[in-house]
Symmetry: C2
Subunit: 273 residues, 2 copies
């Protein structure tokens, strides 16, 4: 499996991916799931992928030269000349569909789902930053101020902290920290997600990314974050009063006056309802 | 969906379940997912269920009178006379198989998976407490000191805090708090899990449960826990240093000397590998 997060803030974009792939439990490998496409001063785009590796690698290969004809203008669009990230996402969707046309039937015959999902974000000169999630059918949705992040792969373990912390007005550093905490929770609870991580942080209107780093178990910041987060989460947990059943000295008893609707069944003859 | 947790500690057992069921998004209802079976002084058993509601309700109905013949002794076992929780779990497994024999083919024809999973734990006079997870095939696994908890349903959101906090030697109150925090994270991130909650806490060698409570949005302890946990998690997050890219004043820079292996693609002609 995989875990990738992409966040769109007012200040920029954060992309974080793990690098573990597995075909069953006995075939575990390390593959990069992040691609950066860049023409300095003109466009920056990052692509994160999850799902079947043969599909996502094919999509990435094709994306380089994929074209889509614009119905209105007749123009031939690529990710390199598209005037908007929306058009670039259309080109990516077309690449996904192309792989489906080529491999879909044979995969189905082999009992393999056509399973791929991608996060694609960036900025093209002339418009603001945009972030898309692209599905197996080549269709896509866009992040908005209300929902400033997308996740693909093993998304559930690391979702609670994102839901509690992320807003579009966070500074880039804080959102990066939040993505790393979310990844840490996922690494801790799911073996199919593994180090090293790839992190790219893009500052708005820069049209180039100068913050691109590979984080392995020796990275001092990530080491510090993992150990401190574990300790402080535990301290936060310990600081909350334990439940007291029958009031006790607590001002917040667990028991309410209302009796539980759960009926204890005490004989084999008893009716459940 | 559903979220249920059961924890086996040295001091006792904790069972927590939500009460939301849904068939699609527009048919949401409230059903109890916890059953308590009890002969005071002789046995206490709790059953939590997730999956297809028609299956789990049938299993619960059947379990009351289900029998299994013991191959060695010829004895007829029920949950009411079984001398061990292992045998009681066999009776539960047999009830699951009975429902499969009755409904499995018709469900398959309708395109519905035979999907049910259950947590079943308790104590029978003459042995220690035991906790089992029972699968759709009626087979089961048992919790041990190394893995003192099981989850069913929407398990992933609430798993990180369990992995960080739970050990078999925790006091009952602390494990109860941990289960409630895990449930809170799940409630916050997944709409298909909902209040009220049912909570049962069993003290070892009591053979009866006197701590059985229904927790709704008015429960003062759960209200306090939800608001404090949110605040303190945020404070823990804020207390961790933000990442600094190029060292800065930080003793823990995010950047290592090692360059990232991610190659920026800058032209359509560029080879990916």
């Amino acid at each position: 499996m995989t875990y990738c997060i992409a966040i769109k803030l007012d200040a920029g974009l954060v992309f974080l991916s793990d690098s573990r792939t597995n075909a069953g439990l006995d075939q575990i490998n390390s593959f990069r799931k992040m691609m950066i496409y860049e023409k300095t001063g003109d466009r920056f785009m990052a692509l994160l992928s999850a799902g079947n590796l043969s599909i996502s690698q094919s999509v990435r290969e094709l994306l380089q030269t994929m074209t889509v004809r614009d119905d209105a203008t007749g123009e031939v669009l690529t990710i390199w000349n598209a005037k908007s990230m929306f058009d670039a996402a259309r080109v990516l969707g077309a690449a996904v569909r192309h792989v489906y046309d080529r491999d879909g039937v044979a995969l189905k015959r082999a009992g393999v789902d056509f399973n791929v999902s991608m996060l694609f974000g960036g900025q093209i000169q002339g418009e603001g930053m945009r972030l898309f999630q692209v599905y197996s059918a080549g269709n896509f949705i866009e992040a908005t101020a209300e929902t400033p992040y997308f996740q693909i792969g093993e998304a559930k373990y690391g979702k609670p902290v994102l839901d509690r912390v992320l807003t579009a007005d966070l500074p880039l550093e804080e959102a990066t920290k939040c993505a790393l905490v979310s990844m840490d929770s996922t690494l801790k609870s799911n073996l199919s997600v593994g180090l090293p991580l790839d992190l790219a942080v893009y500052e708005v209107d820069r049209f180039s990314c100068n913050k691109l780093v590979c984080i392995d178990e020796h990275n001092p910041y990530f080491q510090m974050l993992r150990s401190n987060w574990g300790e402080r989460l535990r301290a936060a947990f310990d600081s909350i009063e334990d439940p007291q059943w029958f009031g006790g000295n607590s001002t917040v008893p667990l028991v309410m006056d209302k009796p539980s609707p759960i009926k204890k069944i005490t004989t084999p003859e008893e009716k459940l309802v």
